[in-house]
Amino acid sequence: MKIGVLAVQGAVSEHIRHLEHCGVEAVSVKSRESLNKANGLIIPGGESTTIGKLIEIFGLADLIRERNRQGSLAVFGTCAGMVLVAQNIFDGIKEQPRLGLMDITVQRNAFGRQKESFETDLDFKSFNSPLTAVFIRAPIIEKAGPAVETLAELPEGVVAARQGSLLATSFHPELTDDLRIHQFFINICREL
């Protein structure tokens, strides 16, 4: 089992460290070759406009879409990664680049600017205790299609969801020592 972390920009090393602590092989994905070796792909937090633009330019976006649709690649988007996997984006820049895989509508920067960023305890479906979730200029899921399962929510809206081999969280599980979300994604990869 190999899980890739999209290494274009953002919290790459943090995800790699968590995957290694979970006992799976983590690969840093910058090229189509390295992407082809992975069973799953984490799209980390960062700036969605930057990551989205660069994965188109360097030919990664098509391969991610193609392999996910074929069912050979599970994809987990955190924060900016959630924006990138979404089919619809509110408040994006004009022609905001996206992968458009998951049947969700996402609001960017839904909690406000950086000074409003926060951490909080959060109940996550199937976990027997809350986790500490770190939200940084985080997006939120405004609307979701019937195939999307809600995994966690705050009063403002849905902050974690799954649709088959797609997982998305508004928050950053790579910024705490809790490995449960990564383990949850690894299990999705194993089901492929």
């Binding site: 290494a7 274009v8 919290a11 700036e47 406009t49 600017r113 409003e116 926060f118 770190v134 910024l175």
Partner: protein, 294 residues
């Protein structure tokens, strides 16, 4: 319960900028170009460092009106600079809602002894450093991100290289120190033992460390990344060049593929004239910004 402005949230914001390029902009039009080119954030200021250098006089925080216009224009984070020690300017920027504050030696220092107590703010701060001691002193004051000082506005990368190499070299020394030696080093650097222990166990600075000061080409960005930078600030290098849009895009690509000479060769072509640079020996001691706020 929601807890805002924790150190983890502030430091995490900088972690999300890693591998990216933060660009100095002075107008909303420039901010739009930067966002389109793939910048991870923009630094809103009234003059780029090379113009501050040329203008002389006292350089202060930018006009809030202009910062807000840029905040309304782009969706990426907006940073702005305050003078070293000028906590009132920082309070104003926090109120405006800027995403990051640079307590910067590029502006004229307001306090020759004390930096801002950055723990008191919800908004995160980035500060410049020339060596490990400066970096850790800023972190102990609450900085959530560090950058090299370099020599701003010169288009000359030599000082940023010096500062990055120095920090990396000192981190390697810390890693090899025994407990009793670390105590002495903490005293020599004027930093806490706890922070040095943190550096030793992590094998790096406890916060993200960017390169800044004199970066003017894709090759400069690659050089700094290969020396261990987590990302790149470009000040005058973009909008003082002949073809800002092209240079901005090229530096973004070079920062991503910093270790791939094939991509670097491709993106370095046909960029027009880079900003005119300054040789360090032409600067008098009073011209050097990096000695401000140590």
């Amino acid at each position: 319960m929601k807890e805002q402005g924790t150190f983890r949230v502030k430091k995490g914001m900088a972690q999300m900028q890693k591998g990216g390029v933060i660009m100095d902009v002075t107008t909303d039009e420039q901010a739009r170009i930067a966002e389109k080119a793939g910048a991870v954030a923009v630094m809103a200021l009234e003059r780029v460092p090379s113009d501050i250098r040329a203008a002389g006089g006292v350089a202060r925080m930018a006009d809030p009106e202009m910062i807000m216009r840029i905040m309304d224009t782009v969706t990426i984070p907006v940073m702005a600079k305050v003078r070293i020690g000028h906590f009132a300017e920082a309070q104003i920027l926090e109120e405006l809602g800027v995403d990051y504050i640079d307590e910067s030696e590029v502006l004229t220092p307001a306090d020759e002894e004390f930096h801002i107590n950055k723990h008191l703010f919800k908004v995160p701060f980035v500060c410049g450093a020339r060596d490990l001691g400066e970096a850790l002193r800023r972190i102990s004051e609450g900085a959530a991100m560090i950058r090299t000082k370099g020599e701003p506005g010169t288009g000359n990368v030599v000082e940023a290289v010096r500062h990055m190499r120095k920090v990396m070299d000192q981190v390697r020394q810390v890693i090899s120190k025994a407990d009793d030696e670390l105590v002495v080093l903490a005293r020599d650097l004027g930093v806490s033992l706890e922070l040095l222990q943190e550096v030793r166990s992590a094998g790096r600075l406890p916060v993200v460390n960017f390169a800044a000061g004199g970066i003017a080409s894709p090759a400069d960005a690659s050089l700094m990344m290969q020396l261990g930078s987590d990302g790149i600030f470009v000040g005058s290098g973009i909008f003082k060049s002949e073809k800002p849009q092209l240079v901005a895009e090229a530096i973004v690509k070079a920062t991503l593929h910093y270790d791939d000479p094939k991509v670097l060769a491709e993106v370095s072509r046909k960029l027009g004239d880079a900003m005119p640079g300054l040789e360090m020996s032409t600067l008098t001691a009073a011209d050097r910004m990096q000695e401000r706020g140590i």
